[in-house]
Amino acid sequence: MIILAEIAPLAGRLAFAAVFFTLVLWLTLMPRELLGESDKPLHHQVRTWAVVIALIQMLVYLFWR
């Protein structure tokens, strides 16, 4: 029972982190032409900041306990 209780929150953390990992992957692989930002440097692109925020969320869910 103790093992199950320990595994369950771990399964939950992994599930939540997986959602944000999928989001990071999708944002990263989205073609530049769709966003109309190909002429901008990386740190001026909205997508870059979206990826950073999603990565932070993923780390919070993985490691906060």
């Binding site: 369950a8 939950g12 900041w49």
Partner: protein
């Protein structure tokens, strides 16, 4: 509680500043487009902060403090998986279609994608839910003003409605967005002060953990993820009901939220405003939920156990506010006012936009010009402010304003999300299926609510019901021709066609 002259001066200064900014910025309003979309001239940074405070308000300050006391850091999920995730999805997947369609409202988009019946039904449901939200906001305001200032329920509500009504009627969305920018700063400063001073009283973070952990029924109060067996916020319910339904439906399909992005200058600016909102929202769990834990450590004997059968909401934040010295109290009350006013002005402006665009102009007065829409919009703002007052008496029956807010949302959000997903991502979904999905989803939600099901599961299962009904009916009915769906559906690029009526 006796306010010092400094606190009163700060509150009056804030009210005057907000009313002044709102009236000055909104002085050029000449048409319905100006009132509802700010003339499509709003900068991304103002819209981004407006998105934050259109969501975060008095109900969150009061309600998340209550629920942080009762349940702990699991409530942070409402800002993490429940906000950051859907906001980023909305920015990069859904917003472009709404923007390109050039619509004022979500029902208007759904009307083009499905038919006018769907548009009208969704318009009515959303308008009713927004008036219910106004009731929630009024109750939040009254609980704070009653405890801190001794104001009656009626007096708190009337003063709130008068101040907000003044600049919203005059200035519309432009006034709302720029005052929200000021409110966002005040809200963050005020909430941070409560956190810092409260943590100082407790003795720091480690002392907070030790004191809370020593109390009964708090073993999960510092976990963001709770076990699946948890009766209230088990992780499957949070992930499915909040992360996949309530959150996306709110940030993609809530008129009060989405309307702001329609007021920006370009798609890129709209996207940037969403991302700024997501960035700011990552700090709100600390600012709004941790105060509940602080109150649990300091006032558990006075407030009582969070799991008590006779628990009544609205008592946690007022206790914390009593810790604050003069001057700081004025700023925090200003922050609270900021939260009330930014929420109220957002919902009332959006409810007015919905009714004028999707019911008045679409059904009753098809030839109505911009000037007529402006007048109708202003009248409706007053009507909705008054309607919210009546519904506030109903909201008082809930144990927490946050729970009331989420329960009202769960009645429509599941069906709305299914309509948006089926509509934007598939060509095969038919107009008749849209009607079936809406009626099936809302019907299931009402039945589950009546049966006492938790609002997270109501959201998830009403979404599943609506999705199932939409898919099933689509198998036996005819879809729109592809030309009509261009620009409205993924994989069908192009400029959307103008449609008149468009019944199936």
């Amino acid at each position: 509680m006796q306010l010092q002259p400094l606190d009163i001066a700060l509150i009056l200064l804030y009210l005057a500043a907000i009313a002044g900014v709102g009236i000055w910025v909104g002085r050029g309003v000449r048409s319905g487009r100006d009132l509802f979309l700010g003339g499509r001239s709003l900068p991304w940074w103002a819209v981004g902060t407006s998105l934050v405070v259109s969501d975060i308000g008095a109900k969150d300050m009061v309600g998340l403090a209550d629920d942080g006391y009762r349940y702990g850091l699991v409530m942070a999920n409402f800002d993490l998986i429940g906000c950051v995730f859907p906001v980023l999805v909305a920015a990069f997947l859904f917003m472009p279609y709404l923007w390109l369609a050039g619509v004022y409202t979500i029902p208007e988009y759904l009307g083009r994608r499905y038919n006018e019946t769907v548009r009208t039904l969704v318009g009515v449901c959303l308008a009713l839910s927004m008036v219910a939200m106004l009731g929630v906001i009024y109750v939040s305001a009254a609980s704070m003003f009653g405890t801190l200032l001794g104001w009656s329920f009626e007096m708190s509500i009337l003063i709130t409605a008068l101040v907000v009504g003044l600049y919203t009627v005059i200035g519309g969305l432009k006034a709302v967005v720029y005052t929200d920018f000021v409110s966002c700063i005040v809200l963050i400063v005020g909430a941070a002060l409560i956190c810092l001073i409260g943590l100082g009283e407790v003795g720091g973070w480690e002392a907070l953990r030790a004191k809370v952990s020593a109390l009964p029924d708090t073993e999960h109060h510092f976990n963001v993820i709770r076990p699946a067996s948890d009766p209230d916020y088990g992780w499957p319910a949070v992930l499915l009901g909040l992360g996949f339904v309530l959150g996306p439906a709110y940030w993609i399909g809530n008129q009060a939220i989405v309307q702001r992005t329609f007021g920006t200058t370009s798609q890129s600016a709209a996207r940037a405003s969403y991302v700024l909102c997501a960035a700011i929202k990552t700090i709100f769990p600390l600012l709004l939920v941790v105060p509940g834990l602080i109150a649990l450590a300091l006032f558990h004997e006075k407030i009582g156990p969070g799991g008590a059968e006779d628990w009544t909401g609205g008592r946690v934040l007022p206790e914390l506010v009593k810790l604050l010295p003069s001057g700081v109290l004025g700023i925090v009350l200003g922050a609270f006012l900021a939260g009330i006013m930014s929420n109220l002005d957002s919902y009332v402006n959006s409810a007015s936009t919905l009714v004028v665009t999707d019911l008045y102009k679409a059904r009753l007065r098809k030839g109505a010009g911009e000037r007529e829409c402006l007048v109708a919009g202003r009248v409706l703002i007053v009507v909705f402010l008054l309607g919210g007052i009546l519904l506030a008496y109903q909201v008082r029956k809930f144990s927490s304003v946050f729970e009331a807010f989420q329960t009202y949302l769960s009645l429509i959000q599941g069906a709305l999300l299914a309509l948006l997903l089926l509509g934007m991502l598939t060509r095969r979904t038919t107009p008749a299926a849209g009607v079936a999905a809406l009626l099936g989803g809302v019907g299931a939600a009402l039945w589950m609510n009546w049966s006492g099901v938790h609002f997270l599961w109501i959201a998830w299962w009403s979404f599943v019901t609506a999705l199932g009904a939409g898919i099933l009916v689509s198998l036996f009915t005819r879809p729109h021709p592809e030309e009509r769906l261009r620009g409205l559906v993924w994989f069908l690029p192009g400029a959307p066609a103008e449609t008149e009526g468009g019944e199936a």
